[in-house]
Symmetry: none
Subunit: 423 residues, 2 copies
């Protein structure tokens, strides 16, 4: 089954507010087997709202609207929907009472302006809103159904979960497919290289749909099956094997969270030494709740003097090879691990730009080193993009290097959290 989504509000078009309701609703509906065919945003204009409702009903037979149910005169969704369904508006006493009660509970008498929110088109069903003054409304005719919901995100979300989705399920019982889904999260491979790598596994008419979702620091591969779990299983296995060198996680976890899990499993702790990323890796790592169980901290050695003073990097290496060099990266990682007294460390030194590039070491040149229990590996990268992209990509590559190094290291402590100093 398919619905369209109509989000209403001039502030959405001006960009003063980002439309989060539309994306949230898409996720919720999809999880229950309902596709969103189209999403339209119109300004607070009665004629345009009405036309958009009519169009959506004609195309999809069902439309969920967000916004324009407030008390002020620029809230026009009630009027527009009434016009679309040829219904007159009347004041609903039950709704009026519950709005009055909401104000009374806060010790205020209802402002006259809120009377508008009790206007209900003839024949509409009222969807009670326990979280705000504007109730939802359901209208129906031979063309299909329209649901009107308030745009305030927490009211919108609760009405969708508590009333709208159960209502659609009841209405469409037996006609909603089961959706099965797998997400493989990759890094270190571009979208086009990735497509090349799996092109023979992708067929337009296959029971499993394949989508590629690129981010700054990687590409997510989405596999989706309608009512066909075995097909998803088979496709998942094939993609997993083919993409093994680049898959760092499955599902909703991020790379920092995966690294944390791997550290926890081994009872190891991590320290970081960051130059061009300037704290970005520490920030990503500590964004994971509970990261204090596997992260001790580290050094932001942005200036060369800090590299020497805090991490004991050899001034000769700095003078001879430069700050962005294999030698410096290795010394930073080894020293961070030793000084922090932990099992693992990673170090990043590079040129994020826009300045600082040379013909030999252009912007995007980054050296990354990881030290896992005394075994130091270093790798050279040349990342595309501007300052922020280079830094994001460097952080992701560093965490991925660490993840792979841990996987290939022999864990001597497994199960349980036993942070300790590596001998």
């Amino acid at each position: 089954m398919r619905v369209e989504v109509l989000t209403i509000g001039s502030e959405l078009l001006r960009g003063d507010v980002v439309d989060l309701n539309g994306a949230w609703l898409g996720r919720r509906l999809r999880a229950t087997g309902i596709d969103v065919g189209r999403r339209v945003t119109v300004p607070d204009d009665e004629t345009q709202i009405r036309a958009a409702i009519d169009d959506a009903l004609e195309r999809a037979g069902a439309v969920i609207c967000s916004g324009g149910l407030g008390p002020t005169t620029d809230d026009r969704t009630r009027e527009a929907a009434a016009a679309a369904f040829g219904a007159a508006l009347h004041s609903d006493e039950g709704v009026l009472d519950s709005i009055r009660a909401r104000f009374a509970a806060r010790g205020i008498s209802m402002p006259d302006i809120n009377r508008r929110q009790a206007q209900v088109p003839a024949g509409a069903r009222v969807l009670p809103n326990r979280h705000g003054t504007a109730p939802g409304l359901l209208l129906e005719d031979a063309r299909g159904l329209a649901v009107l919901l308030p745009g305030v995100p927490h009211e919108f979300e609760r009405l969708v979960d508590e009333i709208v989705i159960p209502l659609l399920h009841e209405r469409w019982a037996g006609r909603l497919p089961r959706i099965d889904r797998a997400v493989l999260r990759t890094t270190g491979i571009s979208e086009s290289q990735l497509m090349e790598a799996v092109h023979d596994l992708v067929a337009p008419a296959a029971p499993v749909q394949v989508g590629f979702l690129p981010h700054v620091a990687g590409v997510d591969v989405h596999l989706t099956a309608h009512q066909d779990a075995p097909a998803l299983e088979r496709a998942g296995a094939a993609f997993r094997t083919r993409l093994a060198p680049w898959v760092y996680a499955e599902g909703e976890v991020d790379l920092a969270g995966c690294v944390g899990l791997a550290l926890l499993e081994r009872g190891w702790m991590l320290a970081v030494a960051e130059s061009c990323t300037g704290g970005l890796i520490g920030q990503q790592v500590t964004a994971v709740p509970g990261s204090s169980a596997w992260f001790v901290g580290g050094w932001i050695t942005y200036a060369d003097a800090a590299k020497v003073r805090d991490l004991g990097v050899d001034p000769e290496t700095l003078a001879h090879d430069g700050a962005v060099s294999e030698g410096v990266a290795r010394q930073m990682a080894a020293s961070a691990r030793r000084r922090a007294g932990v099992e693992c460390a990673l170090a990043v030194t590079g040129i994020a730009g826009p300045g600082g590039g040379t013909p030999d070491k252009p912007v995007g040149t980054v050296w990354i080193a990881v030290d896992v229990r005394g075994a130091v590996q270093a790798q050279h990268f040349r990342f595309p993009g501007g300052r922020l992209e280079v830094r994001e990509r460097a952080a992701q590559a560093a965490l991925r290097m660490l993840q792979r190094a841990m996987m290939s290291a022999e864990p001597t402590v497994t199960g349980g959290v036993a942070p300790g100093v590596d001998p």
Copy 2:
């Protein structure tokens, strides 16, 4: 003048990706006097994309499209637009060369699949993309113009700023109203307190429109005038005076950039000591290009042991007052400044949650200290929100404290960059 916006991608409808391009473009266009009449999101389906382009041209005479220009077979915008304009697609040698060059610069040969990105509808103008493989395209006929842009946000934004807006200005010269705008960026005051503070300055029919745009770490106040610069001047002065305690910047600069400028003006250098923010402040500071002129680095002392070992925090203070305390924050700041040999330091220690809260020190409790040339100030905060919000708010508050402390400190060195050790 008016345009419509068409964002293309099944992932947007499924809600896997929030449409940030649409809102961003709305803000950019509005700033130049162009209104967005409608925004439509359609899936990666050639028929639907084509129909949406046709509809938008009919309604508005101009449409800006985002997405569907990638190399994979589910990227259908080129084909759909060619159909809408009745133009055949051909391979453009110039575009192909520049895609090949992008790959060559990274030492890779172009995957065959990227040839699709060199497909150009007959008569279309190529809008070169220095930030990715997919160029933008401009198509035109008697109905109006369609601009096709890649959906990757940083590519999209740069093409809009560098090419599309100048192009529309040239095209519509003399028909765009002059929009004057001021943005006051505030932090440390909630949206509703802020509205209370200025309610007498806001009038619905005034020549200057006032908008409030809340972020996690502050509220931006937008003042907009159509063809009335003197009115904007007057309103700006009134708002500036009223909101002085909370305004940290005007325009597009962020707080880290403002702090950097203040440091540069004084020839001072900064070091950070971060516990609960875990590198976030370092990351924000080093996201500013050229920050090496005023930032040396710092310490991520996430574990208590790191606070003692790297910053010499007194174990007695830790044991007696706890890690989240005025004493620890002050010692972290003072020690970071002294050890780094710089003029300024800031330190943050707090409970970001979800765990770690106590009745005395609930989640959101944060102590921040700043040391400006030996004068240490500390402040206690209780931030609302979850882990990420608490961290964002703590980072913002720390930078704001430093900014205010520097402004009230007597600068002894002004003009020029003369990093040095404070006596």
